[in-house]
């Protein structure tokens, strides 16, 4: 397939000022590409800069050095062809389910979006809850609203920042399956940040392991488990366990490094 790279990090470094006035290096020389239509999971230890990589792709922040491009264009500003599912709830609390999901089409001044919105409400299984406000929904339902809100705009690139980390384990595996099903019907490029290796392998075509911050690519695995996948069942197969061990062997050193650092210097950053 020659679809070109949907995402390209070229020698990207990013640093932030900490409240104490020192610099915090989140990314150093991050360099990788993602092919269009690929589902890529970024895994790495806590605080390694995974989320920063996503905010650069969305244009919410700019790299300090280097460049980030999406579909061949350098990201300069917030890019509305990108969908973003946040770690914590980012649904609008003053809009009901319908209006939350309709937010994108309305902001984009799309006429006749009613049928589209209703079809997405049905796709994420929220028919009957159109008039509920987010605080009246469970954590899993709120995530479904967030997913539909991002996907209804048919983003060419979907960025997900540990979207299911706040959910309980059971809801999480259900949501993983639902995400797989939704993605298999749209096949947009996905960058999925997680620290849960199981989730990463179950979902992705490719798992990129990042080093303990500042993030660099440590290893790159192709996951050739057959699709369509059922995330809930796949993790008991031999192939899954084998790839799991391979990746874990690489990841665990970085996790140790990050953990040791935390013990030495409790840093201000999350």
């Amino acid at each position: 397939m020659n679809r070109g790279s949907a995402v390209k990090f070229e020698k990207v470094s990013k640093r932030f000022r900490t409240p104490k006035g020192t610099w915090y290096q989140a990314l150093a020389n991050l360099d990788f590409e993602v092919e269009a239509g690929q589902f890529v999971a970024l895994v790495g230890p806590t605080g390694c800069g995974k989320s920063t990589a996503l905010t650069l792709l969305a244009g919410l922040e700019q790299p300090s050095i280097g460049s980030v491009s999406v579909n061949g264009k350098e990201v300069q500003d917030i890019d509305t062809s990108t969908g973003f599912v946040f770690q914590h709830d980012a649904t609008f609390p003053w809009m009901n389910v319908y209006n939350n999901i309709a937010a994108g089409p309305k902001f984009r001044k799309l006429k006749e979006h009613d049928a589209l919105v209703k079809s997405w409400i049905a796709k994420v299984g929220l028919t009957g809850f159109e008039n509920n406000f987010p605080h009246q929904l469970s954590g899993g339902m709120k995530k479904r609203v967030a997913l539909a809100q991002a996907l209804i705009n048919e983003p060419s690139l979907l960025l997900m920042d540990e979207p299911f980390s706040a959910l309980d384990v059971q809801t999480r595996s259900i949501m993983t399956d639902e995400l797989v099903a939704l993605w298999e019907s749209t096949r947009s490029t996905v960058l999925f940040v997680t620290h849960d290796l199981e989730e990463a392998i179950a979902l992705a075509d490719r798992v990129i392991v990042l080093t303990a911050g500042p993030a660099q690519v440590k290893a790159d695995f192709t996951i050739s488990l057959p699709r369509p996948r059922k995330a809930r069942d796949i993790r008991f197969t031999a192939e899954f366990l084998e790839i799991y061990h391979q990746i874990w062997n690489v990841l665990k050193d970085e996790v140790d490094i990050a953990y040791q650092r935390q013990l030495v210097a409790p840093s201000g950053k999350k």
């Binding site: 919410l60 973003f84 937010a103």
Partner: protein, 278 residues
Amino acid sequence: MAEKYLTDREIKQKNLKHRVKVHSLQLGLAFLLLGSWQYMADHNILDPFFYGRPTGVLHQLDVWVHNGTAIGSLWVNAWVTFYEATYGFIAGVVLGIIFGVFLARNKTAAEIFAPYIKVSNSIPRVVLGSIFVLWLGLGSVSKVALAFVLVFFPVFFNAFQGTREADNKLISNARLLGASKKDVLRRVIFPSALSWITASMHVSFGFALIGAIVGEFLGAQRGLGLLIATAQGNFNPNGVYAAMVLIAIMALTAEFLITKLENRLLNWRPTQVSGSDL
């Protein structure tokens, strides 16, 4: 040990019982307070010449309603005070919101205006009443102006803070979903600042009434403030209390309407923990 669930009817009855208890105790307390006041005034423990008495207040209200006051019809005077407070309130709320949101969104402007706002906020604003009477005359305009300055600052500060506290993640999300700057302001920032703004509106109507009445004290031709000043000049404490009763009714009505408006605007919020509203 309970053996059966309570039925809906039993729960209702229990709640009703509780409400009856609360209301009868409230009434009892009112009777006790007003009754002891009346008793002490009747037996000259409190000098009714200075302290008045409840029946005197009722009589005063009756006279005002039926015969009018020394400065004209009661309704005209009440209405004047009400609209002065209301105009000042509306102007203060609208401009407070506009300035608050604008300065919170515009860092440079906020830095420029910060010392001016601090200085003007530190002036005891009631003092401005005298200046407004000098500038704007004895008519309603000077009272509206005083009510306005009293309302403006609390609303302004709350709108400013509410806007600042708007969740950055929600703003990012809206922009990624395709929202224009105007959309972000209308659909994200304003709704999230709204609970701050409505909170300030509750206290502000009280301030607006203070502005109107103090303005009328300082010099006016009509209004409840003038009515109070006149009663005070005539050593008529019952008149002062009677005007206070009218003002309280006005404030409570406004509070009721503001709460209605708030519930309408903020219907998306989780229902507050149940308990008594103060």
